[in-house]
């Protein structure tokens, strides 16, 4: 982004005039400095962000408070509202204008996102024998929806707090508001904006919010679930590292936002239940006495308590009303605000006493229609609480009064205190609802992940528009931990082995790539960084150091805005371990891990004592296979001259070339005498110990420098594991040798690199010495036909009648007597 270059130009020009590739990869020879410190890459530390990755003494961030009154027109599926924004300029700069984000404009036909949408259909006509081009019905539905509906914001007015009109300019998904007078450092100003827009049908347009229509519901015309997000014009962030973060919303790169307090009044049909960011302020006017009593009970309940039961929700969705109600919510120190509304919702809640002084009590709640069914009743709210327990251990106490999971058309999306999650049950012919194990895993997994996002990035406020991995990668790493602590039988998380096919593939970009430009988002921004952190924790730093450093990062940046450099620097500083090589390799390159064990030499210490060494040499030669020439002569009965002439013998027939004479003995004695005392001591000890020395030769085939973990098997059947830190590669990142020494009698039989598959090494075959044939998956599959674990959908299957029973019954009926 141009602006970015400008804002940071001074720093960039000072330190990066030579470009980073030059410093790493020299023109002389082929040396690559994979351990070069990230000095050209990381921004220079300043008073806002320290070199240790901590907020500096002059750290600042803006504060933006909102008072919003909005209403949902269910019939038109339209949101209308007005907001008063109080903007406090905590930066040292004077601002003449403010930039606001108009995210709904991403759906306009003339948005950059729409105009640059790649054709996703299949065109094959230019290839031989190709079929005609195809468009999917999905694409056509989307086009039709966008044609038929006016999308994007209608901004009715932008005024000062006292009502004077302000000049504004809309630029795509952004709006510049020119202030009546420049806003100096430390002062505040108010803006009043009237806005409205039509909600998108989530299933037609695929967004992070929208409505879902249920035409089959009993109520005439059906019902909707409304998920409302990116719904009010909100301030773009103004930061110390990028100034206005006004990069266009293209759909993939999520949000860069400011913290503030929200006071929001939402007017919806009177029979709707609203779930929202914030704490409900007017329970008395929107909830029945019964519902309020149930909420009270839920605070200390063992299992979730229904505030709105299934029966009540079913009754609700049959009717409808022309009345409306206004729900009033207040949220302190949040970076965004989202909500959901429907008459279809049942609602359950369970209190969580997390203790601590900041937020000792949290109410976990779930909202879902009958389509969510038992799956949601059992697991949603419990998953929310489990997430809080695990994430808080790795970061800080959950900082808000409520944590909510709402079922709607969005597969999974996070907002402060509220998440949208997609899993559903399946309606069977007998009218019951069941779910598969995969759907169950999906529900638990997605709730953990989305609730986890309330920590990262909703509280540790990383810049999603620039760096998806900072929230998705960290969060995928933590959801793997929380998942494994839920049920080890379910394969959670990302194992290093899961990512090897991605990491060795050709078409990829480094993790450190701007969010909208990432190729293959899933493995790039979720999988690979999660694996990298896993390796850092389990293999490189160990849990104690990693967990301390990670928690330090989380607490340093709680309610603040970290950048990648802050993460890298904090983990390094708090663990006390140089990790520049790790960040460089995993986050700034597309190298993969492939360390090969090419050779092993065995060495034995010469004693210099001729009486020992000469006979050893004789034994070595004897152990060699005899000359095949001599063997065949003997087989042919060919006699040698010596054999034919036994009468002639001399000294050399009795003494071979390994015979020791006093000449050698004298020379040995003078060698020993010539040693200095310490040399003689070391030498004599080495001779006595007679250890086994091995030299292992490694080559780095994948480029990524990593620790070398060795699994050693000895001829006596014993095993050992050795860990060689990655720094072994610092002077030569292509080939290295390592000397290993073992006690007398301890001889190596086999060596395996990375025996526990913890480093994401992509090639197993060259990890073995001696080489081992590693069967391909197909070879292995053919050998042990399907070792597939049988996960059964017992819920539906259990209704199957036992075949023999049916036969018995039939027989019975055939026997009248």
């Amino acid at each position: 982004m141009l602006k970015n270059l400008f804002a940071g130009s001074l720093v960039v020009m000072l330190v990066a005039s030579t470009g980073y590739a030059d410093a790493v990869k020299q023109t002389k020879g082929n040396f690559e400095d994979k351990f070069r410190q990230l000095e050209e890459i990381l921004p220079t530390a300043n008073t806002y962000r320290t070199a240790g990755g901590e907020p500096g003494h002059a750290y600042w961030q803006q504060k933006v408070d909102y008072k919003i009154k909005a209403s949902l027109d269910e019939e038109k599926r339209r949101i209308s509202g007005n907001e008063v924004i109080s903007y406090t300029n905590n930066s040292p700069d004077t601002l003449k204008f403010l930039w606001l984000q108009l995210d709904q404009n991403v759906f306009r036909n003339d948005s950059i996102a729409e105009l640059t949408n790649d054709f996703n259909g299949k065109v094959t006509a230019s290839t031989k024998g190709g079929a005609p081009a195809k468009l999917s019905l999905n694409q056509i539905r989307r086009q039709q929806f966008m044609q038929d509906n006016e999308l994007g914001y209608q901004i009715a007015s932008v005024k000062t707090g006292s009502g004077a009109a302000l000049n504004y300019t809309i630029v795509g998904t952004l709006m510049r508001v020119d202030l009546a007078k420049p806003l100096t450092s430390g002062s505040s100003t108010d803006l009043a904006i009237e806005f409205s827009y039509n909600l998108v049908e989530e299933n037609a347009v695929s967004a992070r919010a929208g409505y879902e229509h249920f035409p089959k519901d009993d109520r005439e015309g059906g019902n909707d679930i409304f998920l409302v997000a990116q719904w009010f014009p909100r301030l773009a962030a103004y930061t110390d590292y990028e100034a206005w973060t006004n990069k266009e919303f293209l759909g993939t790169g999520e949000f860069t936002l400011e913290f503030g307090d929200y006071d929001v009044e939402l007017t919806v049909p009177a029979d709707h239940i609203v779930s929202s960011t914030g704490a409900l302020q007017n329970a008395k006017s929107v909830l029945t006495r019964e519902q309020r009593a149930r909420l009270e009970t839920a605070k200390t309940a063992e299992r979730p308590i229904f505030i709105v039961t299934e029966e009540e929700a079913l009754q609700n969705e049959k009717e409808g009303t022309s009345e409306s109600k206004t729900w009033h919510f207040s949220a302190k120190n949040v970076r965004d605000f989202a909500w959901a509304s429907s008459r279809k919702f049942m609602w359950d809640a369970k209190g969580y006493q997390q203790g601590g002084k900041d937020q000792p009590f949290v109410m976990a709640m779930s909202y879902y229609p009958k389509e969510g069914g038992d799956l949601w009743k059992k697991y949603s709210t419990e998953s929310v609480i489990h997430t809080l327990e695990v994430y808080s251990r790795f970061s800080f106490d959950y900082p808000y009064p409520v944590a909510q999971s709402v079922n709607g058309p969005v597969g999974g999306m996070e907002y402060p205190m509220i998440t949208f999650n997609g899993p559903r049950t399946t309606l069977q012919d007998d009218g019951s609802r069941t779910y598969s194990q995969a759907e169950k895993r999906f529900l638990i997994g997605v709730v953990i992940h989305e609730i986890g996002h309330i920590y990262f990035p909703m509280t540790v406020n990383s810049d999603e528009r620039q760096w998806t991995w900072m929230d998705e990668g960290l969060n995928s790493f933590l959801d793997g931990i929380a998942g494994r602590e839920w049920d080890t039988e379910i394969p959670w998380g990302v194992e290093p082995r899961d990512i090897v096919d991605y990491m060795k593939s050709e078409r990829q970009v480094p993790i450190m790539t701007q969010s909208d430009s990432v190729l293959r988002l899933g493995p790039n921004a979720y999988g690979k960084p999660a694996v990298a952190l896993n390796i850092l924790r389990e293999t490189i730093l160990g849990r104690e150091l990693f967990d301390f450093a990670f928690k330090e990062y989380a607490t340093r940046w709680k309610f603040k805005r970290p950048t990648p450099a802050d993460f890298f620097r904090t983990l390094e500083e708090a663990s006390g371990v140089d990790l520049d090589w790790f960040w460089r390799g995993w986050f700034y390159t597309t190298d993969h891990v492939d360390i090969s064990l090419d050779k092993i030499y065995q060495l034995r210490m010469d004693t210099k004592d001729p009486d020992i060494d000469f006979s050893r040499q004789r034994d070595e030669v004897k152990a060699e296979p005899a000359s095949i020439f001599a063997e065949r002569n003997r087989e042919q009965g060919r006699k040698t001259w010596v054999e034919l002439n036994p009468d002639i013998r001399d000294f050399y027939d009795e003494n071979d070339r390994y015979t020791v004479t006093n000449k050698e003995r004298n020379s040995y004695q003078s060698f020993v005498k010539g040693l200095k005392d310490w040399e003689r001591k070391a030498f004599e000890r080495a001779v006595t110990e007679d250890k086994n020395y091995y030299v292992l030769e490694f080559s780095n085939q994948g480029g990524l420098v990593m620790p070398i973990i060795l699994g050693l098997t000895f001829t006596d059947g014993s095993h050992e594991q050795h860990y060689i830190p990655a720094e072994i590669w610092r002077r030569n990142s292509q080939t290295v040798k390592k000397l290993l020494t073992f006690a007398k009698g301890k001889e190596l039989a086999e060596v395996i690199i990375d025996p526990n598959w913890e480093t994401a090494d992509v090639n197993l075959e060259n990890n073995y010495y001696p080489r081992r044939i590693i069967p391909s998956r197909i070879e292995a599959y053919k050998r042990s036909k399907s070792k597939a674990l049988v996960h059964r959908d017992i819920m539906q299957d259990s209704k199957t009648k036992l075949a023999s029973e049916e036969v018995e019954e039939e027989k019975d009926t055939e026997k009248p007597e």
Binding site: N120, L137, S436, A438, R520, I778, K787, H791
Partner: protein, 169 residues
Amino acid sequence: MIRPTLVVIVTLIAGAITAPVYAHSQKAAITRVLFNPRTANLEVMHRFSMHDAEHAVKQIFDGDADIISSKDTQEKFSKYVADRFSIMESDGKALVLESVGYEIEGKFFWVYQETKAPEAETLILSHNALRDLWPTQINTVNIEGKHGLRTVTFDGSEELITVNLKPND
């Protein structure tokens, strides 16, 4: 002569709903195509996340389809995959890929195919599995065992990709 305008037809996958799953951002499959020197076969190993496969089968077949516990669904899905993956030689002749089988391994569903390794060093690949369902599905194919590794990625409107396996100079 100007080629006639492309005919636009609509694929018959009505009802396919594409709810984005930001949390489990998968919709991505990876395939290893291996020239196996021990068997002289070309082995094809498709890996799908169970989560993607679970949702896909309900859309491709019907709501009762169950990739985890129904052998019938597993078989139908592996056939579905096989029907949408092809390797051709440069003359357009498709290799006949035999089905080897399929299995579940933890988070993944694997589909296996193989054929006698072709001599040709230029191959044309096509991998439309799930891409006819979800426009955002990305299929990556790593071709290994013949002069290093080559990757082709099917995303956007990519349908046929030619890959040259000759060694790099």
